[in-house]
């Protein structure tokens, strides 16, 4: 997938005040996730209050970008015109908090090396103002 993935346009969201930190935050090379300033709980996707302590002190913060593969599929179906199959779609659980999970691709990691529990780290694929967070074996 690594070659063809770069040539197939991803279906990307409209940027809003609720998601800008996530989709555009990678410009500095780091992953940004909302965090509660009062109790430290990470929050994703967007909410205006902390789900743990109800604080309104919620703001984006850089996170390690480390995690583990919580689940993955080897997709064989050619859903997307021009995209080479098979490819991996993985769910990564971030190291800081169990329920902060990101769907992602792992184009730099051989398919046969992907497994549940694999330690991974983030990297970014730029597309205009958006920096798509992808992962690779750490």
């Amino acid at each position: 997938m690594s070659d063809s993935a770069a040539t197939v346009k991803r279906l990307l969201p409209q940027i809003t005040e609720a998601n800008r930190h996530f989709w555009c935050g990678g410009a500095d090379g780091r992953l940004h996730i909302l965090r509660c300033g009062a109790c430290g709980t990470w929050i994703h996707p967007y909410a205006a209050r902390c789900p743990k302590c109800r604080s309104d002190s919620v703001a984006p913060e850089a996170i390690s970008g480390l995690g583990t593969v919580a689940g993955f599929t080897i997709n064989h179906q050619p859903w997307i015109r021009g995209l080479e199959t098979p490819y991996v779609v993985a769910l990564v659980e971030l190291a800081e908090q169990a329920n902060i999970r990101l769907m992602t691709n792992m184009p730099r990691t051989p398919i046969e090396a992907v497994r549940i529990g694999l330690p991974v780290k983030v990297f970014f694929e730029p597309d205009g103002e958006i920096f798509v967070p992808l992962f690779e074996a750490a």
């Binding site: 993935a5 197939v8 991803r10 279906l11 990307l12 969201p13 409209q14 998601n19 994703h44 996707p45 789900p51 919580a70 689940g71 993955f72 599929t73 080897i74 997709n75 064989h76 179906q77 050619p78 859903w79 997307i80 015109r81 995209l83 490819y87 779609v89 993985a90 769910l91 169990a98 329920n99 902060i100 999970r101 990101l102 769907m103 992602t104 691709n105 549940i116 798509v132």
Partner: protein
């Protein structure tokens, strides 16, 4: 236990159109036929219907696609003059039923016509057929903005990832899961409406083309054109009608943990369906052992396994062993499931096919596939961010 409003309601009429794999009849016409059949089945006239509810809510003039019949267009076509209507955009496929219960409890309506109208072959809106047709998806928003950008345009991928985590944790295998499509295909052979009726073997299953591991082609339901309609009535009014009322004993539609996302729950890979099942059981004294037939969502086979666990027919992680070999879930087994062939064989009637079949079983009208003395049936609909459950029983 308080008297929950659903216990004062019943399914009084059901209707289903033909089910087409290839486009043959305009889907809006199929929706019209299903609604007419349901009204006739109940022994009602269109002017007796005072509420309408359908999901998804589509604009007037829609005749095909993921939803093919606007509330207003069905009302105009059949001469229904509703007091109340709902696009029922909350609990997935069963949400019109929950909305109808609430409307009846509030006195807004006595007989609510509900339907699920599919025209996914006439106008393919997603999936490989849509890809071939050059269909362009819009920029994603809401929870799917965190799924679609990763070359993951299908729920097959999202469900496959849930299944990968669950299967790895508990050692569930594809061979175990394969019992479900095989048994359902056997049931479909007894259902003249089912799209696929030829038997399949374990060899067929294990060699089927992979879609997204661990889900193969035979784990994915079959998009189709067709509509199912049901009428929810106040129980005392239903008792005066043509068919024996099928009482709505309990419903559930919970989404208690980070609503509207597939992947952010603390208890991933649990889904909203686990909350819906728990809410349903909290509203009844009946137990899983009282259930005669189970009609469990099979958009992908792994969801059926999830529903078996969520509803307590087996323990967490035990669904693979529960279905293994297929005997237990067959028509003559201890828990017959998806007796019409389900969405994997009958076609993707999107939850309402399951509802229709449960009512046939409880009325004793399921023909060759009738389960002997069926008294209580459970319906579990949906997966991922949405789930709805209903427990139906014979009256008295």
């Amino acid at each position: 236990m308080p008297l929950y409003a659903e216990k004062n309601t019943a399914i009084s009429g059901i209707g289903q159109s033909e089910i087409f794999r290839k486009p043959q009849v305009l889907p809006f016409e199929l929706a019209t036929r299903a609604c007419e059949l349901a009204i006739t089945d109940a022994g009602l006239r269109p002017e007796d219907i005072d509420g309408v509810a359908a999901w998804p809510s589509v604009p007037s003039g829609t005749v095909a696609g993921f939803g093919t019949a606007a509330l207003s267009d069905i009302a105009a076509t059949l001469g229904i003059r509703p007091n109340w209507w709902s696009g029922a955009d909350n609990a997935a496929q069963l949400s019109p039923i929950l909305e109808a219960v609430a409307a009846i409890a509030a006195g807004y309506a006595t007989h609510v016509l509900c339907w699920r109208a599919l025209g996914e072959r006439w106008v393919p809106s997603y999936g490989s057929a849509a890809t071939k047709a050059g269909f362009q998806l819009m920029a994603p928003s809401g929870y799917i903005e965190y799924l679609l950008p990763f070359h993951a345009p299908s729920a097959a991928i999202w469900c496959a990832i849930h299944a990968s985590t669950h299967f790895a944790r508990y050692g569930i295998t594809r061979e175990q899961m394969g019992a479900i499509p095989i048994v359902q295909r056997r049931n479909a052979a007894l259902n003249p409406k089912a799209i696929y009726r030829e038997p399949i073997t374990m060899d067929d299953y294990m060699s089927a083309r992979m879609i997204a591991t661990p889900l193969s082609l035979l784990d994915c339901d079959v998009p189709c054109d067709g509509t199912t309609a049901v009428i929810v009535s106040r129980l005392d009014a239903a008792r005066d009608l043509k068919q024996p009322p099928i009482v709505i004993e309990a419903v559930g539609a919970g989404a208690r943990d980070r609503m509207d996302t597939w992947i952010a729950r603390y208890d991933y890979p649990h889904m909203a369906l686990h909350d819906a099942a728990a809410m349903m059981w909290s509203r009844t004294d009946l137990k899983p052992k009282d259930v005669s037939t189970a009609h469990l969502y099979d958009g992908f086979t792994s969801l059926t396994l999830a529903w078996l666990e969520a509803l307590g027919f087996c323990g967490e992680g035990e669904s693979g062993a529960f279905v293994e070999g297929g005997q237990r879930i067959s028509l003559d087994g201890e828990l017959p499931i998806n007796t019409n062939g389900g969405q994997l064989s009958e076609g993707r009637m999107h939850g309402f096919g399951h509802l229709h079949e449960a009512v046939l079983q409880l009325r004793g009208q399921a023909g060759e596939r009738q389960v002997k003395d069926a008294r209580v049936s459970v319906i579990g609909n949906g997966g991922g961010s949405v789930g709805g459950a209903a427990l139906l029983r014979r009256d008295g």
